[in-house]
C-alpha cells in the first residue's frame, strides 16, 4: 500500500520534470534567433563572419552608431515614419471598423454579403494587388507618400477588427441599448455610453494587432516608399552594398525594429492571447 502511493507521487514528479524539459527546449528554440540577433548587433565586424561562430567576444556599439549616423536612409526617420503610420492607421481603423461592426450586427446591413466581401480582403494575397496599387498610386502621384501606406494598412486591418468587434457586439444583448433609448438616450448616446465601454477590450486587442501588423509590414513599404515616407521595415532592406550584406548594422537595425514590439507584446500579453484565440474558442 505504501509502496504504491510513493510510486505514483514520484511518477508524477518525473512527468512534471519531463514537461519542464520539453517546454524549456521549445523556449530555447523560440528565443535563440532573437539572442543571435542581439549578439550580432554588438559584435565587431571581424567577429561576425567567423568559422566557427563566436560566442565570446568583445562587445561594441559600432553597429548602432553606424545605423544612427547613416544619412540616408536614416533610421530615426524610419522609426518616426513608422510611428506616424501606425498611429494614423489605428486612428482610422478603429472608428471606421467599430461603426461598420455596429451596422452589421444591429441592422444586418447588406444581409451578410457585405461582411463576406470584407472578409475576403483578409484572404487577399497583397502581392496580387501590389501591381495595380503601384500603377494607381504612381498615377495619383502618391508614391513615397504616407497617405498611400496608411490607407492600404487600414484596408488590411479592417477585416480582423470588424470581425472582432462584431463578435463582441453580438454578445451584448440589444436590451441594453434599447433600455437606454427608452430612458432618454439617442442611439448615438446609447452606443457611446453603453456599448462602447463594453467593447473596449475588443478595441484594445484590435488596436494592438493593427499596430503590430502595420509596424511589421514590409511589402507595401518596400514598393511604395523611397525616402519621404520610408518606414523602419524598408530601412531593414537597405543593408545590401557592393561589399555584401552589412550584417552588423543589419542586426542592430533589426534589434531596434524589434524591441518596441517586444515591449508592446510583454505589456499587453493578456490581450494578444485573447485576440488570437477569440472566436476560435467560443
Amino acid at each position: 500500500m505504501n509502496v504504491l502511493r510513493i510510486g505514483i507521487k514520484t511518477k508524477r514528479k518525473i512527468v512534471d520534470v519531463l514537461y519542464y524539459i520539453g517546454i524549456i527546449i521549445v523556449l530555447i528554440v523560440v528565443l535563440f534567433p532573437f539572442l543571435w540577433m542581439f549578439l550580432t548587433s554588438i559584435k565587431k565586424e571581424s567577429d561576425i563572419l567567423t568559422i566557427p561562430p563566436k560566442i565570446f567576444f568583445e562587445p561594441t556599439l559600432d553597429n548602432y552608431i553606424f545605423v544612427f549616423e547613416r544619412p540616408a536612409p536614416n533610421i530615426i526617420n524610419g522609426l518616426m515614419n513608422s510611428l506616424i503610420i501606425v498611429g494614423s492607421v489605428i486612428a482610422l481603423t478603429i472608428p471606421i471598423s467599430m461603426l461598420a461592426a455596429y451596422g452589421f450586427t444591429r441592422f444586418n446591413v447588406g444581409g451578410g454579403h457585405l461582411q463576406f466581401y470584407i472578409l475576403t480582403v483578409r484572404m487577399f494575397p497583397p502581392i496580387a494587388a501590389i501591381v495595380p496599387y503601384f500603377v494607381i498610386f504612381r498615377n495619383l502621384g502618391l508614391l513615397d507618400n504616407h497617405l498611400s501606406i496608411i490607407t492600404l494598412n487600414t484596408l488590411f486591418n479592417m477585416p480582423f477588427t470588424i470581425w472582432l468587434v462584431a463578435g463582441f457586439l453580438r454578445e451584448i444583448p440589444q436590451d441594453l441599448e434599447e433600455a437606454a433609448m427608452i430612458d432618454g438616450a439617442t442611439r448615438f448616446e446609447a452606443f457611446r455610453e453603453i456599448n462602447l465601454p463594453l467593447i473596449a477590450p475588443a478595441l484594445a486587442v484590435a488596436a494592438i494587432f493593427a499596430a503590430i501588423f502595420t509596424w511589421n509590414e514590409f511589402l507595401f513599404a518596400f514598393i511604395l516608399t523611397r525616402s519621404e515616407a520610408i518606414t523602419v521595415t524598408r530601412i531593414m532592406a537597405g543593408f545590401y552594398t557592393e561589399r555584401g550584406i552589412l550584417w552588423g548594422p543589419l542586426s542592430a537595425a533589426a534589434t531596434l525594429c524589434t524591441v518596441p514590439m517586444f515591449i508592446l507584446a510583454l505589456i499587453i500579453q493578456k490581450y494578444i492571447v485573447r485576440g488570437l484565440t477569440f472566436g476560435a474558442v467560443r
Binding site: 471598423s97 475576403t120 480582403v121 550584417w247 514590439m261 507584446a265 476560435a280
Partner: protein, 288 residues
C-alpha cells in the same frame, strides 16, 4: 428630416468602411482586369490590347508559372505538416498547471510580433553556408549538414523551418485555449475506467479538438499562400527559382521585369483561386 436619417443611418454606419474597402479593392480589380488584356511592359513602353493571350499563355505553356504553383503548394503543405502537429504538441505541453505558465506563454508570443523582414534576414545570416550558426550546429550534431539556403534542394526547407518557427506559436496558443476549455468530466470517467493517457488523447482530446485544429489549419493555409516577406528576406526566391512561390513569382515578373500586363493576369487568377480555396476551406471548417 428625422425620419430620413433614421432610415439611412445603418447604411451610413457602414459607409466609411465600404468606401475604403470598395475603393481600394474594386478599383485595383478593374485596373488589373484592364491590364490583363494587354501586353503592357513598362520598360519597353509596350501597351497593346492582346485579348486573352495572357490567359492562354498561363494555361498553355508557361512552365515557370506552373512550377511556381507547385512550389506554393509544397510550401503550404510542408508548413501545415509541421505546424499543426508541433502546435498541438506544444499546446499539450503547456496545458499542465506548472509554475511560470504565464511567462512561458509570454515568450511564446514573441516570434509572432516581430517583423518577418527583420528576423528573416537574421535567419538568412544564420543559414549562411559558410558562417551561419545553423550550419555549425547541424554539422556538429549530425556530422554533415546541407548548405541550407544555398542548396536548391534545401532552400525551401529552410523557409518552411523559418515559417514554422514563427507561426507554430500561433497554432499552439489557439489550441492551448481550446484545450483549456475542455470539460474535465470525460477524462475523469475515463480514468475510472482505467484508460491510459494515450487512449484519453486519442478518443477524447483529439475528436473534441478537431474543429479547432481545422480552424487553425485553415488560417495557416490562407496565410502561407500569401507569404512573401520571408522569402525576400531569406532567399530572394533563390537559389535560382528554388523558393519562388507564386507570390514571389508575381513580384519578379511585375516589379523586376515590369511585365505589367502578364502580371495583372496572373494576379487575378491567383486572387480568384486563393479566395475560392479559402472560402471553401472556411465553410468546411465551420461545418466541422
Amino acid at each position: 428630416m428625422k425620419i430620413k436619417t433614421e432610415k439611412y443611418m445603418p447604411f451610413l454606419l457602414v459607409l466609411p468602411a465600404l468606401v475604403i474597402v470598395f475603393g481600394l479593392t474594386l478599383y485595383p480589380l478593374f485596373h488589373a482586369l484592364y491590364y490583363s488584356t494587354r501586353n503592357t511592359d513598362l520598360t519597353l513602353n509596350k501597351d497593346d490590347f492582346i485579348d486573352i493571350r495572357n490567359y492562354r499563355t498561363m494555361l498553355n505553356y508557361d512552365p515557370t508559372l506552373s512550377d511556381a504553383w507547385v512550389r506554393s503548394l509544397t510550401f503550404t503543405g510542408g508548413c501545415l505538416a509541421f505546424q499543426i502537429p508541433l502546435g498541438l504538441g506544444i499546446a499539450l505541453l503547456m496545458n499542465r498547471p506548472l509554475r511560470g505558465h504565464k511567462i512561458f506563454r509570454a515568450i511564446l508570443t514573441l516570434p509572432l510580433v516581430v517583423a518577418p523582414i527583420a528576423i528573416g534576414q537574421i535567419w538568412r545570416m544564420m543559414y549562411h553556408y559558410e558562417f551561419g550558426i545553423i550550419k555549425y550546429i547541424t554539422s556538429s550534431v549530425f556530422g554533415t549538414s546541407p548548405n541550407w539556403t544555398a542548396d536548391t534542394n534545401w532552400a525551401m526547407v529552410s523557409i518552411v523551418i523559418y515559417d514554422t518557427w514563427q507561426w507554430t506559436p500561433f497554432v499552439a496558443l489557439i489550441l492551448l485555449a481550446g484545450l483549456q476549455g475542455l470539460p474535465p468530466e470525460p477524462y475523469e470517467s475515463a480514468t475510472i475506467y482505467g484508460a491510459s493517457a494515450f487512449q484519453k488523447f486519442r478518443y477524447i482530446t483529439l475528436p473534441k479538438m478537431r474543429p479547432l485544429i481545422g480552424l487553425a489549419a485553415v488560417f495557416r493555409m490562407i496565410d502561407t499562400l500569401k507569404t512573401w516577406d520571408p522569402i525576400w528576406a531569406i532567399t530572394w526566391g533563390g537559389p535560382g527559382q528554388a523558393t519562388e512561390t507564386l507570390s514571389y513569382y508575381l513580384y519578379r515578373i511585375g516589379f523586376r521585369y515590369f511585365w505589367v500586363g502578364y502580371a495583372s493576369a496572373v494576379s487575378l487568377v491567383f486572387l480568384y483561386i486563393v479566395i475560392v480555396i479559402s472560402t471553401v476551406a472556411l465553410k468546411k471548417g465551420a461545418k466541422l
